[in-house]
């Protein structure tokens, strides 16, 4: 069950994800940021594959890299970004914000490293062959399907989001 070359691929994908995330945050132009974000999300999809979640990896590629990022680039064509290079990139309170996030990072890493021993060390057997089938059983199955009602609520949420997006992008708000 242990895959081949796991440490190399893990460090490769994690390095790509973190580095291009930093590039995304520090670039001036939103188009460059969007391209770096695509790289990060694809590396995250690779990490999902290593966690035995091939369905979520596919959803990540199709939904994020294929759908949401295209929508971002589309909106960037609609708004004018010519003047971005001459004005400030960071807001007024960025030093305090950066300090607060660094404290948050230290807290999160400390909690993870300190509290990891209380988590189960034995990994669950997840079969990769019928991953989609098992997720479908959990979503809709008559026996052991827990998520039918949350699924319907998610569909209502998407409907509300569609109506809200159309109303927001109308001519006069």
């Amino acid at each position: 069950m242990t895959p081949i070359a796991t440490p190399f691929f893990f460090y490769f994908l994690a390095g790509i994800a973190v580095i291009s995330a930093i590039v995304m945050v520090t670039k001036v132009s939103p188009v460059h940021s969007a391209l770096a974000l695509i790289v990060t999300l694809l590396a995250c999809a690779g990490l999902y594959l290593m966690l035995y979640a091939p369905f979520m990896a596919g959803v990540q590629i199709v939904l994020y890299a294929g759908g949401i990022l295209v929508m971002f680039l589309f909106v960037m064509m609609l708004v004018n970004i010519e003047h971005l290079y001459v004005e400030k990139m960071l807001n007024r309170q960025w030093k305090f914000g950066l300090a607060a996030t660094l404290i948050m990072a230290v807290l999160m890493l400390g909690a993870l490293i300190d509290g990891f021993r209380s988590l189960p060390q034995q990994l669950v057997e997840i079969s990769e062959q019928n991953n989609v089938q098992q997720i479908g059983q959990l979503l809709y199955g008559s026996k052991g399907g827990y998520y039918m009602f949350p699924f319907e609520i998610a569909s209502i949420l998407l409907l509300v989001a569609v109506v809200g997006a159309v109303v927001m992008a109308k001519r006069r708000v």
Binding site: T6, P7, F10, A14, V18, A21, M24, V25, P30, A34, T40, L41, C44, L47, L51, A53, M56, V59, Q60, L63, Y64, I68, M71, F72, V75, M76, V79, N80, I81, L84, E87, M89, L90, N91, Q93, W94, G97, L98, T101, M104, M108, L109, L112, I113, P120, L123, V124, I126, L138, L139, Y147, L157, L158, A161, V162, G164, A165, V167, M168, A169
Partner: protein
């Protein structure tokens, strides 16, 4: 060295913190939205790492988070277009009408 779940959780925490830096320090609202997407993706990575320890329910929950991210991006970009049409700017700190 064997890669444990702790490594994945640390990577997810790093991505989350980088996204939070983007949300807090940047002025451009498009990049703030992209940072929020990055934070949601880091949460998904966290959920999948936990689903490796506790069973398949984490993957179903990550699926719901992905649907939620799509809805949030649609509504957020609609708000962005309305915002740009009214104020002719994409900087969040120039919209301070409610502060006064």
């Amino acid at each position: 060295m064997q890669i444990g779940m702790l490594h994945y959780l640390i990577v997810a925490a790093l991505l989350f913190v980088i996204g939070m830096v983007g949300v807090i320090t940047r002025r451009n609202v498009v990049i703030i939205f992209m940072s929020i997407e990055l934070m949601l993706s880091a949460v998904n990575l966290n959920l999948l790492a936990f689903s490796r320890m506790y069973g398949l329910h984490g993957q179903v929950f990550a699926l719901f988070i992905a649907a939620d991210a799509a809805a949030e991006a649609a509504v957020g970009l609609g708000i962005l277009i309305a915002f740009f049409r009214n104020r002719a700017t994409v900087n969040v700190d120039e919209v301070d009408l409610l502060k006064w």
